[in-house]
């Protein structure tokens, strides 16, 4: 779509674009280019000598067990976060779509976790489940369950999944609610007249019609789990115990900032960029289809 009526000026459009382009060049393209450049180099511990090594950083990464393990951790983490977040939000949205009384109050009380910073969400959940003083820990121990996420990898994973999902439910909820409200009532009524009960109507009409929303949320949630959950991890497990919750973004940060491995960390950045590109392409192809639907 293009405007028919446009203004003419030789310099004004460039002046208007200048701030945005300047920030983009200095803080997006320049660092991205540097990440590419660093990823082909090896630097010594003091940053004095750098050596061009071609693809060696990448080869080493792909041979590195910890890196492959981190891939697996990220996959498990993001699927758990996306899956449980979507399922819970769909349940709540379906229920909220049904009720007439108090709908606004329910909505208001369900959307506030979106405003909580991931790092703060991590602190809140970490405190609830803290090995020695946590309230939930106390209940779990009473029930005879040995809860200590500081030592046990599976429990650490469960904790970060809970904190990350908790924060994302409101987002999914709002999109599902909007999707549910856009389903034509006549379809549901016709099914009801034909004798389909609520459960059957949900699975044969509502759920298929929601599939574009569900797919969209799946992509968004995976992107969220990949990148924005850094705060959750850093404020709770910090990738531990023994790398059980070390997702890719955390490893980039850890290797680059804490361990000072510039080349390896940059190579990881480049791989992450490729993943974002792939996810963005998936998302946009899907959005084109949504317009037709």
């Amino acid at each position: 779509m293009e405007k028919r009526v446009v203004f003419r000026s030789t310099w004004l459009p460039y002046a208007l674009l200048a701030p945005q382009i300047a920030v983009t060049l200095v803080f997006f393209f320049w660092p991205a280019a540097q990440a590419f450049w660093f990823s082909f180099q090896v630097q010594d511990a003091f940053g004095i000598n750098t050596e061009f090594v071609g693809l060696r950083n990448f080869v080493e990464l792909l041979r590195d067990e910890h890196y492959l393990e981190s891939f697996k951790t990220t996959a498990v983490f993001s699927l758990l976060v996306a899956g449980s977040g979507i399922a819970l939000a769909l349940l709540l949205a379906t229920m909220a779509d049904r009720v007439l009384r108090g709908a606004l109050a329910y909505k208001t009380l369900l959307i506030w976790p979106y405003a909580v910073a991931p790092a703060v969400a991590g602190v809140l959940w970490g405190f609830l489940f803290a090995p020695s003083i946590g309230v939930v820990t106390y209940v779990l121990r009473k029930a005879g369950y040995n809860w200590d996420w500081v030592l046990q990898g599976d429990q650490a994973m469960l904790l970060v999944v809970m904190a990350a999902t908790w924060k994302q439910i409101s987002y999914n909820f709002l999109f599902f609610l909007a999707g549910l409200q856009s389903i034509p009532r006549s379809l549901i009524e016709a099914a009801a007249i034909d004798g389909a009960g609520p459960a059957r109507r949900f699975w044969t009409i509502v759920f298929p019609l929601l599939s574009p929303t569900t797919f969209f949320l799946l992509v968004v949630n995976i992107v969220y789990a990949f990148f924005e959950t850094f705060g959750v991890i850093d404020s709770t497990t910090q990738g531990g115990p023994a790398g059980a919750t070390q997702i890719l973004v955390y490893k980039v940060y850890y290797d680059g900032v804490k361990a000072g491995d510039l080349g390896g960390s940059s190579a990881q950045s480049v791989i992450l960029m490729l993943i974002v590109v792939a996810l963005t392409v998936v998302q946009f192809r899907f959005i084109e289809r949504k317009v037709q639907y």
């Binding site: 009526v5 910073a117 609520p198």
Partner: protein, 282 residues
């Protein structure tokens, strides 16, 4: 509602109330902990009804901070968070607004090139370009400054798209009429486009304010000076490690203080928030 099924309505309410209770539980425990003394928190199990230390804990957090770790007062950190959130929100809106105005209302060489250049930034979240961006900010001498905190986060593909989409829906007749009346592009921008964009700007403001306030990784890297910490970073720095060493009552008061402003923005500006959320994802 297609049919009357009382038990299903009851079930819906029950599920919603249960959901809200589970979602609110961490917040409730945090609030309770922020009203207790440290000794009360450390007795297992911690009491689950509010204590009487509310005033003490919050004034201590705001004016002095927790002992050990970062001893900076949280009032200062809240101010930093506020400056960062406002600068990012207003900055993003301002530069995206004029950039998309140029892209929609002018024809000029390299127009599409610039548009794609902005588009590509969608694929470069700060998390994947941490170290080189840090180096650049440090080379520019912007560590521990508001400029360093906000500038690298200020370019926004989503905001540019949102405004572009919106400008495309402005009727052609308005631009035509302005031109016939002899108004130049900037006059048209100020008198017609800006007033029409108010709702989009409000919606975007809510989303970007929360985005700015909740930033974590970036301030963690560029602020080493306690007086430049944001509230979210402050909490993290207060937790020393070891449940008994951390001053949990003050940490929890700080957590409440850090999450209250964005939560209030979301709940009070709910209409704009929902709109902004849905529109930025189009």
């Amino acid at each position: 509602m297609v049919e009357n099924r009382p038990w299903l309505t009851v079930l819906s309410h029950a599920v919603l109330i249960a959901g809200i209770a589970v979602i609110a539980f961490p917040l409730y425990v945090t609030f309770v902990a922020s009203t207790l003394t440290l000794d009360q928190i450390l007795t297992v199990p911690m009491p689950l009804t509010p204590g009487d230390q509310l005033w003490e804990n919050y004034t201590k957090a705001l004016l002095a901070g927790a002992k050990g770790g970062a001893a900076a007062p949280v009032a200062r950190m809240m101010l930093n968070s506020l400056v960062m959130a406002l600068a990012i929100a207003f900055g993003k809106i301002a530069i995206s607004l004029i950039a998309s105005f140029a892209i929609v209302y002018f024809r000029f060489p390299l127009r599409n090139f610039f548009f794609w250049m902005i588009f590509v930034t969608l694929m470069l979240p700060v998390e994947v370009r941490i170290i080189p961006t840090y180096k650049i900010v440090s080379d520019l001498g912007m560590l521990n400054s508001y400029a360093g905190l906000t500038l690298p986060l200020i370019a926004s593909a989503t905001a540019t798209f949102l405004f572009r989409q919106f400008f495309l829906t402005i009727p052609e007749e308005l631009a035509e009429a302005s031109r016939i009346d002899g108004a130049g592009p900037m006059r048209f921008f100020v008198d017609v486009v800006l007033p029409l964009s108010k709702t989009s700007m409000a919606a975007l403001f809510v989303i970007q304010f929360i985005y700015g306030w909740n930033q974590y990784l970036w301030p963690l890297l560029v602020t080493t000076d306690e007086s430049m910490y944001t509230a979210v970073i402050g909490i993290k720095r207060m937790i020393i490690g070891g449940d008994a060493l951390t001053e949990w009552n003050v940490v929890m008061a700080t957590a409440m203080l850090a999450l209250l402003p964005p939560a209030l923005v979301v709940m009070l500006m709910q209409k704009w928030f929902v709109r902004g959320l849905v529109e930025t994802e189009k």
